[in-house]
Structure formats: C-alpha cells, structure tokens
C-alpha cells in the first residue's frame, strides 16, 4: 500500500516523445485509470511505473522512495498483462506461487496465500491445471491471482479485460471493482475503453499523444471536460460538436447560431461562462451530448428558443433507447431519444436541446470556454 507520484515524467524513444511532462499524484488506495486512444502513452506510463521502461526525464516515487533506478523486481509492484502472460509450463498453483517462491516465502505461507487468492477469485478447482487448459476468463483470474498473492504496494493493470468477450468483460469489470474495495490497494489501470474508465476509476487520467489532458473523478470529467478531446472521448455515443457563431441581441441575450438552428443560451449558463462576451460574433465550437437532445414531441415543456426542426437521417432503435442521426446542414449529430419516440428514417422531427447542458469550446485552442 503506497502512494505513487509522477513528477514531470517524460519518455522518449529516439526522437519520438511517448510521454511528455506527466504529473500524476496518486494517493494511497486510489483506483486510478489511465485512458486514451492507442498510442497516447498510457501503457508506456504504466510500464515506467513498473520499471519495464526507463524514465527519460523526471521522477517516479512509489511510497516515499524514488524508484527511477530500481529494477522491477525490487519495486514491490504486481502487474496484470493484457495477454495474461501466464507461465505455460507451470500449473495455476505454481503460476501464482512463483513470485513468492522467488522471494523465499515459507511454504505454508505460500500455500495459505495462493489458496486464499484462489478462493476470492473462484478458481480453487483449477489449481492443478495448466494455462492452456483454461478459458480466457479463467486465465484472466489466474493473472489477477498471481498479482494478489504478492500483496504488493501497487497493482498495475495493462488493459487486462480487452482480450475477453463483451459479456465477460462487464462481469470482470465489476469483480475488479469489488476486489479493489476488498484489498484497499493502490491500483493503476490502463484501458482504451472509456466505459471501463468511467465505471471503475476513483479518478481518471485522460491522455492523448503522450500528454495528460485532464485528471479528475469520472463525473467531473464527464460534466466538465477541459477540452474537445476529453469531451469527445468520455461518454458514449460521443458528444456532438457543431461549429457555431455566438450572437448577442439588444436584450443582452446570448444565442448560438448555425445554418440549421439558432438557440438561446440560458442565463445561468451565461453567468457560468465568464469568457462568453469575448466570443460574441465570433466562431466557437458548440458541444451537446446525445442524451441531452430530446424529441420535442415527448418533452412538450421544452423551451421554444431551444427547439428547432431537423431532418432525421437514420434511426437506430436499441430497445431501451433510440439513436437518431440528425442532419444539420452539412453536419450530422446523434441524438439519444426516449424509446417512446416515433421518429422514422427520412422524417423531419422537432428536437429540443437541453441548453443548460451545453458545452462551448474555443475553435483555436480547443479548450473549454471558461
């Protein structure tokens, strides 16, 4: 159990910068998720914490120890790999016991820990099987078990669920969360799946092109994304972005104007966006999440100045919800309608934007308008 601190950490492979000036402060017992598209440097960051990659610049601390020059075996960490990396010639028991044997633990202690971990993970009946005799989900459990028995200061998990099928992934996701509650250990978890990040992390670190974009609790990142990338990455389906012009009328009301619509920005939102006056008569990127677009026929109390008519391109009924692809001039946005909506392909529909949930970004910097 220990905190982990990354201080101005940079990793270069030749001329390529994989991770740039990363600062992350992970308190003890936190479950932190590094998320981003492939190649964003999240795995490299994790591997630097593990000691499998050298740090080019900056410092990494585990507990209070500077670990830059400490080899992986002496860092007291355990890692779960994407492809599990089980030792093929050892049975499940020995796969889990290997790390303890190397550390010269007494036999009965090893036995106790392995059996305890096997019990927690429900793999007691597999202890004498070889990895090749196990299914993907079982291998996954063994890989986690191998980490648990070590009782390390920090767990590192590199996309541990991405080789599992969708159903099993959801199940293991919940189990790993439970496991964290039970073990109360610091976990650093890497994934490209924003759903995993949202559901499992105490905090999320969103990365792109080797640069940390935002660090925060899942809902904080969801509600207050710092820039267009984070806004588009977190949430499914992704947030819609439309280029608009900000207008201010004689009554001092603010509007977002697009060829397909002109919608009023509610007063409380105007108060929130202190830099808004700077964008008057200028371009801005307007963001709205699919779940914040409604079929006006179903939400009759929607404000008129946030309602307009759009052409429906395609409708995807999902059962519990309906995804409607709307044409706004040359752009397409996705709306998540209530299943009661009766829109059809090719129809026109009156849509209502929940403008109090809108986002606004600077088109140059792509940062959220403060």
């Amino acid at each position: 159990m220990a905190k982990v601190v990354l201080e101005n950490v940079t990793k270069r492979f030749g001329d390529v910068v994989a991770v740039k000036d990363a600062n992350i402060d992970i308190p003890d017992r936190e479950f932190v998720v590094l998320v981003g598209p492939s190649g964003c440097g999240k795995s490299t960051t994790l591997r630097m914490v593990a000691g499998l990659e050298e740090v080019t610049e900056g410092n990494i601390y585990i507990g209070d120890t500077l670990v830059n020059d400490i080899p992986p075996k002496d860092r007291d960490i355990a890692m779960v790999f994407q492809n599990y990396a089980l030792y093929p010639h050892m049975d499940v028991y020995n796969n889990m016991a290997f790390g303890l044997k190397l550390r010269k633990f007494p036999k009965d202690e090893i036995d106790r820990r392995v059996k305890e971990a096997a019990r927690i993970l429900g793999i007691e009946n597999l202890l004498h099987r070889k990895p090749k005799e196990l299914s993907g989900g079982q291998r996954q459990r063994v890989a986690v078990g191998r980490a648990i028995v070590r009782e390390p200061k920090v767990f590192l998990m590199d996309e541990p669920l991405s080789n599992l099928d969708a159903k099993l992934r959801v199940q293991m996701r919940a189990e790993l969360s439970k496991l964290h509650n039970r073990l109360q250990t610091t976990i650093i978890y890497v994934t490209h799946d924003q759903v995993e990040a949202m559901t499992m992390g105490d905090r999320i670190v969103v990365m792109k092109d080797g640069v940390i974009q935002q660090i925060g609790a899942p809902l904080e990142i969801y509600h207050k994304p710092k820039n267009i990338f984070v806004a588009g990455f977190i949430g499914s389906p992704a947030m819609n972005f439309v280029e608009v012009v900000i207008r201010k009328d004689e009554q001092g009301r603010y509007w977002v104007e697009h060829e397909a619509f002109k919608l009023r920005i509610p007063d409380e939102k105007v108060r929130e966006l202190q830099d808004l006056p700077k964008y008057v008569d200028k371009k801005a990127v307007f963001g709205i999440r699919p779940e914040n677009i409604e079929d006006a026929a179903i939400v009759p109390d929607g404000r008129e100045d946030a309602t307009f008519v759009a052409n429906v391109d395609v409708v995807e009924p999902m059962g519990a919800e309906i995804f409607a692809y709307l044409n706004l001039g040359d752009q397409s946005v996705v709306a998540r309608f209530d299943p009661a909506s009766t829109v059809q392909d090719g129809q026109q529909v009156r849509v209502y934007f929940q403008m109090e949930k809108m986002y606004l970004f600077d088109p140059e910097t792509e940062e959220a308008v403060a």
């Binding site: 355990a78 010639h89 190397l102």
Partner: protein, 289 residues
C-alpha cells in the same frame, strides 16, 4: 466427392514403390546379410554380432561413439544455447550469428582437411606447421600429437571439429525458439521478482525445452552416424575408431559383407528409437500449434 479406393491407391503407389525399392528392401537385405558370411553367401547365425560386440576394434568404436555422443551433444547444445542467448543481446547479432554459423557451410571432408593442418604435429625441435602446436611452442611448451595421443586427446580433438561445425546450427534453431518467448512472459517474471538468471532458468529454459530436446536428439543422431571427420583425419587409427567408419572398413577394405551388415544393423537399431522420439515430439508440437 467420394473417391474410390483403387483411385486413392494409384496416387500413393508410386511413392510406396520407390520407398520400398530404395528404403525397405535395402534395410531388409542388410539385416539378412548380417547373418551371412563374408561373401554374403553361407548362413553363419549370430557370428557377426558376436564379433561386433566382442572384438577390440568394435569395442573401441562403441566407446568412442559414446564419448562423441556425450561430449559432442552436450557441448553443441550447451554452447549453442549460450550463444543464442548472448547474440540476442549484441548489437551486430546478424553478423555474429553468420560467423558462428559459417562452418556449417564447409563440408565435413573440407573441415577435416582444415583441422588436420591445425592439429599437424612435428617432433620437438622441428618447425611446427600446425597452428595449434606453433602456438604451444611459441608459449614455450612441448608440441602435442593432437591426433596421436590416445584415448582422450585425439578423440576430443576430433570431437572439437564436429562441435566447430554443428554449434552454429544448434545456435540458430535455439535462437529462433528463444526469440519466440513472449516479451510479456519475461516482463511478468521480472515484475514477479526474478533475477536475470532465475528468469532464464525458470521461464526461458522451460519455454524452449522441447526445442532443446529436438536439437539434442538431432545431434545424437548426427553423432551416431559420425564418419567423415574420423575417416579423413585419422581413419580410425590410434584408438579413434567409430561405428560408421568401422562399417565402411569392413565393407570396402576387408570386403566382409556379413560383418559390415551387422554393424549397419546395430547403428540402425541405435538410431531408430531417437528417430521415433523426434517424430513423436514433432507431431506433438504440430498439434500444440
């Protein structure tokens, strides 16, 4: 589509015919000959086998084949593995491996001739044309009869030549297997707390053990059949006789068909189980893939 049985056989028949003609028939004929006299005419029962297991020449050959088997196999596999692991970490891996593999391209006879020069011996005082003895003399030592001093020096000197040729081969095969070890597996072991040595011993080595076994059995088969090096360098004199060379001598120098046949059968029977083992392993690997 159903294919009639006779149709199937007609495809297999040519291969079966030639295998029978060139493999099965000679084998059976050799076994038959091994029970006949020196002209391959009169039945002599087990006489040739009695000779093969009791005569001093043959006992020397057995001893030497055993020596070859142990030393040659251990060194080629061990050294090959060591080189496979070491070259994996050097910058000019390709160049280093090519150089080590190069002797494989030299024929055994050629290698025999080359090493005969290296081992050449002149009595003390005379000019040493042999590289090895020149070095020994230059360092102030007495020249050594590398191919004369029996039983250890000359046999080991011959085995050295075999090792020089075959180590590169063992290295290449083992290196391919070593490179096949998944990177994550090594990383997992490092995180688990393994030192480089423990990693090699507990993870890498078990991972490539079946390849090691295949290379080792291949080497043993090689060594049981060893002939060219001995034939060229000593012709089995000074206690360096081996089975294959003895077989050749019985057949083509002493014209004793029966004895040559018996030695051939013994060699065949010695190699057979190893061959089967290799085939079995190979099949199992195919299944696992």
């Amino acid at each position: 589509m159903r294919v009639s049985r006779s149709w199937t056989w007609s495809f297999v028949a040519p291969a079966l015919f030639f295998l029978g003609l060139y493999l099965v028939y000679p084998t059976l004929a050799t076994i038959h000959t091994s029970f006949l006299d020196r002209h391959g005419e009169g039945w002599v029962g087990l006489t040739n086998y009695v000779y093969a297991f009791t005569s001093p020449a043959m006992r020397t050959a057995f001893r030497n084949n055993l020596l070859w088997m142990v030393v040659f196999t251990t060194v080629t596999v061990g050294l090959g593995l060591l080189l496979a692991v070491l070259t994996d970490r050097v910058r000019y891996e390709g160049v280093a491996k090519s150089i080590i593999f190069l002797p494989m391209a030299v024929s055994f006879v050629g290698a025999g001739v080359i090493w005969k020069f290296v081992y050449a011996y002149n009595p003390p005082g005379a000019n040493q044309i042999g590289l090895l003895n020149q070095i020994v003399v230059a360092l102030g030592g007495e020249p050594v009869g590398w191919l004369l001093e029996q039983p250890w020096v000359n046999n080991l000197a011959l085995i050295m030549v075999g090792i020089w040729i075959w180590t590169g081969f063992a290295m290449v095969i083992l290196s391919a297997a070593y490179k096949g070890i998944p990177k994550e597996l090594k990383e997992a072991a490092r995180v688990d707390g393994a030192s480089e040595w423990q990693l090699f011993w507990h993870v890498s080595l078990p991972y490539i053990q079946s390849t090691i076994a295949v290379v080792a059995t291949t080497m043993i088969i090689n060594v049981l059949k060893i002939f060219d090096i001995v034939y060229v360098m000593t012709n089995g004199n000074f206690g360096t006789e081996v089975l294959a060379n003895r077989m050749y001598k019985e057949m083509f120098q002493f014209r004793n068909f029966g004895r040559a046949g018996a030695v051939a059968v013994i060699l065949f029977l010695a190699i057979l189980p190893l061959m089967l083992l290799n085939i079995h392993r190979f099949r199992r690997q195919e299944v696992e893939r």
